[in-house]
């Protein structure tokens, strides 16, 4: 989760669409062919229920008003009627068959296994999403960008409160995009209501879903499978761009990543620089569990302040941060953070909160430990 960074991140997810009407009572229609068929099914079954309800409650209401003892109504004796009983077994059964056919048709369409024009792997992490474009060499994490101050009611909440991220998933309009979903830790579920795509992201398994959005825009959703402490704070934001703009975005994103990588590696980082950067990385990636002051949560998330790993040999510290700890909530950060961020955050942990080792861990050391050089 994002730390307290003032209003800077307000702008991060781009222009915001107008707020939904707050008293909205129905399912939104959405922006894909599938979401429209789902909406049709929803309305169809809804009206079927309404019709049954009107008849049933109508008869019941009539009886409640008319057949009262206080009005001197004498009870009738009938208590069986095979014909009637068969009738109200068969009629609902027929209605269900009538419902089952269009439902099956929509479902079959959703299960289309065609590869599509573009494949994005979506990986759920506690508590962020990672988007990997399999053919584009683009790979990034998408974190909640709502400032902590808004969550804690210290500043006014923005229009997209809890539904905004630092880097949205960007996909081209009019193309069939295939999603491959998995997770790194616990089960998450990736949902964008406007696309009618909801699929669980399960650690160790890959699920498949797809969408084709014709209308460019920004579509928001959330994780819908309880995934721990910050389950309510891992939104999904999808930005659909026209094809040309999408291509520009791909090129720009790649170039940016390259530039950042070489710039960071060429640089000789001082302790102060590493500490400053490390604090940012720590707040973003570590503080949700280990807490802002490194004090952890007793018996759940270990404290880093004075911890044996953090004050012990550097190699072991790198090992834990880079590769995680099996069977615990400690994730492997080697893929999530580059060498520079890893070096910075490890340096920060070794020097913050009175750990004061004076150690400076460099990106080169990290690369060496990860066997990248």
């Amino acid at each position: 989760m994002k730390p307290v960074h003032g209003g800077l991140l307000f702008l991060a997810a781009g222009a915001s669409p107008p707020l939904l009407a707050a008293w909205e009572v129905n399912l939104p229609i959405g922006v894909t062919a599938i979401s429209r068929s789902v909406h049709d099914l929803h309305m169809l079954i809804f009206w079927v229920c309404v019709a049954i309800g009107v008849v049933l409650f109508g008869i019941m209401g009539w009886a409640l008003v008319r057949h009262r003892k206080s009005k001197g109504f004498k009870p009738h004796k009938f208590h069986e009627h095979p014909g009637l009983e068969v009738l109200w077994t068969l009629i609902p059964a027929a209605i269900l068959v009538f419902m089952a056919i269009p439902s099956a048709a929509t479902l079959i369409e959703m299960y289309d296994r065609d590869e599509g024009d573009l494949t994005v792997r979506i990986t759920g992490y506690q508590w962020k999403w990672r988007y990997t474009y399999l053919d584009e060499e683009i790979d990034f994490f998408s974190n909640l960008s709502t400032p902590q101050n808004q969550i804690n009611n210290l500043t006014e909440k923005g229009d997209n409160y809890l539904l905004e991220v630092d880097r949205p998933l960007v996909i081209p309009a009019g193309k069939k995009v295939r999603f491959l979903l998995t997770a790194n830790d616990v089960i998450h579920s990736w949902w964008v209501p406007a696309l009618a795509v909801k699929k669980d992201a399960i650690p160790g398994f890959i699920n498949e879903a797809w969408t084709r959005v014709d209308e460019p825009g920004i579509y928001r959703g959330q994780c819908t499978e309880l995934c721990g402490r910050l389950h309510g704070f891992m939104p999904v934001v999808v930005e659909v761009k026209p094809e040309a703009e999408y291509q520009q975005w791909v090129a720009a994103t790649r170039a940016e990543a390259e530039a950042a990588k070489s710039a960071a590696q060429a640089k000789d980082w001082t302790l102060a620089e590493l500490m400053a950067r490390g604090e940012t990385v720590y707040q973003q990636s570590c503080s949700a569990c280990h807490q802002a002051g490194g004090e952890g949560v007793p018996n759940v998330f270990p404290a880093l302040k004075g911890s044996a790993v953090v004050t012990g040999p550097i190699a072991e510290h790198i090992e834990v941060v880079a590769f995680g700890k099996t069977n615990t909530a400690m994730q492997a950060f080697a893929d999530q953070l580059g060498a520079v961020d890893l070096a910075a955050v490890i340096t920060y942990e070794r020097n913050a909160w009175g750990n004061d080792s004076g150690d400076r861990v460099t990106p080169a050391q990290i690369n060496q430990a990860l066997g990248k050089e």
């Binding site: 707020l19 939904l20 707050a22 009572v25 129905n26 399912l27 789902v38 099914l41 079954i45 079927v48 229920c49 309800g53 008869i59 019941m60 009886a63 409640l64 057949h67 009262r68 109504f73 004498k74 009870p75 009738h76 004796k77 009938f78 208590h79 069986e80 009627h81 009637l84 009983e85 109200w88 077994t89 609902p92 439902s103 099956a104 929509t106 909440k157 409160y161 809890l162 539904l163 616990v186 949902w191 209501p193 009618a196 795509v197 909801k198 699929k199 669980d200 399960i202 398994f205 959330q222 819908t224 309880l226 721990g228 402490r229 389950h231 309510g232 704070f233 018996n299 069977n327 909530a329």
Partner: protein, 528 residues
């Protein structure tokens, strides 16, 4: 009740209840044990209710105000577990204990000592479970459905206590179910054939078979969790060759029949109350029995409709969608039969009848949303949102809970020999009715608008209806104090009740004096 029974106890020292606390600790009397279950259930209903109100208080406005996300998750988890295993299930077992022997003309339950043990396990199981709130690392925080690996690899240390608590509850439920089956099959009064049994008894018989079938499955799945957590197995861990989805299959193979365990006894209660106050025999007795049996059988082949988004193969989705829709047929039969019973009856509207009528309407609304959820493609939009929360609260609160309240008002005169205050009962009904709808109806809207369940904070467009729901929850919660007050007043100084306080009531229990003596039906009545 206390005054009535002690007076009687002094007259028949050898056959009355033991004095003091030992009466309750060592009792093998079905009425005492029934009372213990009901009081226990009411207490945990209040505990679970306080947790619900904490949840609703946090959700009153967007932003984090009262509690941190970690504690919020513990509240949703404990609220669910306590309400399902501590409030609803023990209440039904308590009602079965009191009513089954009275209604079938048996002197007691078939296995009285087992009965004592079934009950006395429960306070220990829940002490163990609730004690986790005070442990380091906190109580279970993975939802009442405790999906792995959140409940195994990523769970707080208290998960072990949770597992043992679930084992104990399971043992209690299985023993209770065995007892009910043994009683119903062996101890019916001469002449009471199966198809002459009251519908409450029929529904409980079928429920007891469901319990025996699925509680061991629950025990199995929590044991697998225990092995994963402490003994290095990988049932639910893909890294070791396991599968997290396996957990969900096993859990819901228990979980779906469990849903019917919480509603079939309610159907039985409603089928007793409606004919009484409509002064007309229940419509379609035989089809009521067959419908209950059909629901029970179907409940074993629909479990994966809770898992439409886990990536089942297409054929699996279709199968579970169709079987789930099928359940609407026997359920519909029951609802139509109740309405046909009302039709051309001669109705009066005492408190039990009001709750029963509200049950029929509001349970049906819960059934409608259930039908919507069965449509797999639409379920992708509803799944794990507040629409689901609205759905299962409609079937559980104005469903199961209303039926339990209705049963309490209905049989209280028989249990205590005294009448409750009718006006207060009606006020309690109307406040509960308004409260429950204010709480849960808006949840349909916020679910459709896109609010996921189990989140402590939400986007701004959900704010208005959340506020309404929270207000409704407080109204509903505090109205229940009227129920407690009414029961206490009734027990202490209600006016005397006749043997048959409801003029339309039929059945063996109404042939007995009120209060029902400590020992009843020692000579079996004859049923023609």
């Amino acid at each position: 009740m206390t005054t009535a029974t002690t007076a009687e106890g002094s007259q028949a020292a050898h056959h009355g209840p033991a004095p003091g606390l030992s009466r309750w600790l060592f009792t093998t009397n079905h009425k005492d044990i029934g009372t213990l279950y009901l009081v226990f259930s009411l207490s945990l209903f209040m505990v679970g209710g306080v947790m619900a109100l904490l949840i609703r208080a946090e959700l009153f406005q967007p932003g984090l105000q009262l509690v941190q996300p970690e504690f919020f998750n513990q509240m949703t988890t404990m609220h669910g577990l306590i309400m399902v295993f501590g409030a609803v299930m023990p209440a039904f077992v308590g009602l079965a204990n009191w009513q089954v022997p009275l209604m079938i003309g048996a002197p007691d339950m078939a296995l009285p000592r087992l009965n004592n043990w079934s009950f006395w396990i429960l306070p220990f199981a829940f002490a163990l479970m609730i004690s986790t709130l005070f442990m380091e690392g906190g109580a279970p925080n993975f939802g009442w459905t405790f999906y792995a690996p959140l409940s195994t690899t990523y769970a707080p240390p208290s998960v072990t206590y949770f597992i043992f608590a679930v084992h104990m509850m399971g043992i209690s439920s299985i023993m209770g179910a065995i007892n009910i089956i043994a009683t119903i099959l062996n101890m019916r009064a001469p002449g009471m054939t199966l198809m002459k049994m009251p519908l409450f008894v029929w529904n409980w018989l079928i429920t007891a078979f469901l319990l025996i079938a699925v509680m061991p499955v629950l025990a199995g799945v929590v044991t697998m969790m225990l092995l994963d957590v402490h003994f290095g197995t990988s049932f639910f861990n893909a890294a070791g060759g396991g599968d997290p989805v396996l957990f969900q299959h096993i859990f819901w193979f228990f979980g779906h029949p469990e849903v019917y365990i919480m509603i079939l006894p309610a159907f039985g209660i409603i089928s007793q109350i409606i004919p009484t106050f409509a002064r007309k025999r229940v419509f379609g007795y035989a089809s009521m029995v067959y419908a209950t049996a059909a629901i029970a059988v179907l409940s074993f082949i629909v479990w994966a409709h809770h898992m439409f988004t886990v990536g089942l193969p297409l054929v699996g989705e279709l199968f579970f969608m169709f079987t789930t829709m099928l359940i609407a047929v026997p359920t519909g039969v029951k609802i139509f039969n109740w309405v046909a019973t009302l039709f051309r009856g001669s109705m009066t509207f005492e408190t039990p009848m009001l709750f029963a009528l509200a049950f029929v309407v509001l349970f049906t609304i819960g059934g409608f949303s259930g039908l919507m959820l069965a449509i797999a493609p639409a379920d992708f939009q509803y799944h794990d949102t507040y629409f689901v929360v609205a759905h299962f609260h409609y079937v559980l609160v104005p469903g199961a809970i209303f039926s339990i309240i209705a049963a309490t008002y209905y049989w209280l005169p028989k249990w205590t020999g005294r009448m409750y205050n009718e006006t207060m009962g009606k006020v309690h009904f109307w406040l509960s009715f308004i409260g429950v709808n204010l709480t849960f109806f808006p949840m349909h809207f916020i679910g459709l608008a896109g609010m996921p369940r189990r989140i402590p904070d939400y986007a701004l467009q959900f704010a208005d209806f959340n506020m309404v729901a929270s207000l409704g929850a407080f109204l509903f919660g505090f109205s229940q104090l009227l129920l407690i007050y009414n029961i206490v007043r009734c027990v202490r100084d209600g006016r005397g009740a006749p043997a048959r306080p409801w003029d339309g009531a039929e059945g063996l229990e109404w042939e007995l004096p009120s209060p029902a003596p400590y020992h009843t039906h020692q000579t079996p009545p004859r049923v023609d």
